[in-house]
Subunit: 180 residues, 2 copies
């Protein structure tokens, strides 16, 4: 049932139809009350659908180096998140009525960075902590996406990443690194 | 009319009543169609009300030094934004159906930092650019507020601020400073 309802939402989002609970229900072959019982509100359903779209399907590509892995992954991240559909997905996730989806969204990002981090350690590289990349690279990009008229570019993402890789340790970051 | 409608929303938010367009209209003494004509959707109305609540009423307090001004202002910013009502306001602002409120929200923050910045220059201090404070302090705090289960604390805000004040210039920030 969940799959059919999610698919109905994605189809209505892609098409011209109005996105309402009755329209989703009709397309999914269930009753509106089934949807209200399972999701509570349309906002929660849209948030759940957006979260599924953002779930990473594969591990970040192994380019052979920490810097290469981070640059490639970040380019794809910005391309996805700063696009009009990406921005809509993030806003949908934040519309959730029950907490959880927003932190799951952040956990997906953290998990991908941790994957790159672990691979770098295996190679004998010294990667900056994943927390620092979330704080110095992902957070400013997300702020730009949500709060400024012009979405960030790949160049800006690259500049933020370069700053972390060039000056990885500021006061207070030393502890985070020591914990790794 | 706008004032009466905004007040009706704030009263319903503070009380037990259901927050619907008919309820807002009845309390404000207008018709629901008046509200739909002016705001389009309930989301847009809630976003507009939240933005008004976040509009700064006074300039940041002058404590006599850049660091003192920033610490005091940031403490108040975190106390307001990381509280349950603050988080709800930010989410309401991001629910807007017309763009503009989210960037206005960021412009309020930028304006307050710029005020502190200009005062520091008048004193002969060398403040970091407002853009850098948005990127290194405000953006990570907002990311924490929106995407993680535990809201940020005043200590974390202070740590982020200390990092900027201790190491104000990273690669790429030199230009921003030169523009000041």
């Amino acid at each position: 049932m969940q799959k059919a309802v999610h698919r109905a939402v994605r189809e209505l989002q892609a098409g011209e139809g109005e996105l309402t609970v009755p329209a989703v229900a009709a397309r999914a072959g269930v009753t509106p009350s089934t949807i209200y019982r399972r999701w509570g509100t349309l906002s929660q359903l849209l948030s759940d659908v957006a979260l599924e779209k953002l779930r990473p399907e594969t591990a970040p590509v192994d380019t052979g180096s920490l810097k290469g892995d981070l640059i490639l992954w970040l380019e794809q991240y910005v391309e996805e998140m700063a696009s009009a559909p990406g921005r809509a997905m993030i806003r949908d996730i934040l519309r959730e009525t029950l907490p959880g989806n927003a932190s799951q969204c952040s956990a997906f990002t953290y998990g991908q960075i941790e994957h790159i981090h672990a691979r770098a350690l295996d190679r004998g590289e010294l990667p900056p902590p994943a927390e620092l990349l979330l704080e110095r690279v992902i957070a400013p990009l997300m702020y730009r996406i949500l709060f400024t008229p012009a979405p960030p570019t790949a160049e800006e993402a690259r500049r933020l990443l370069d700053e972390v890789l060039t000056y990885p340790l500021g006061e207070g970051n030393t502890d985070a690194t020591a914990n790794k």
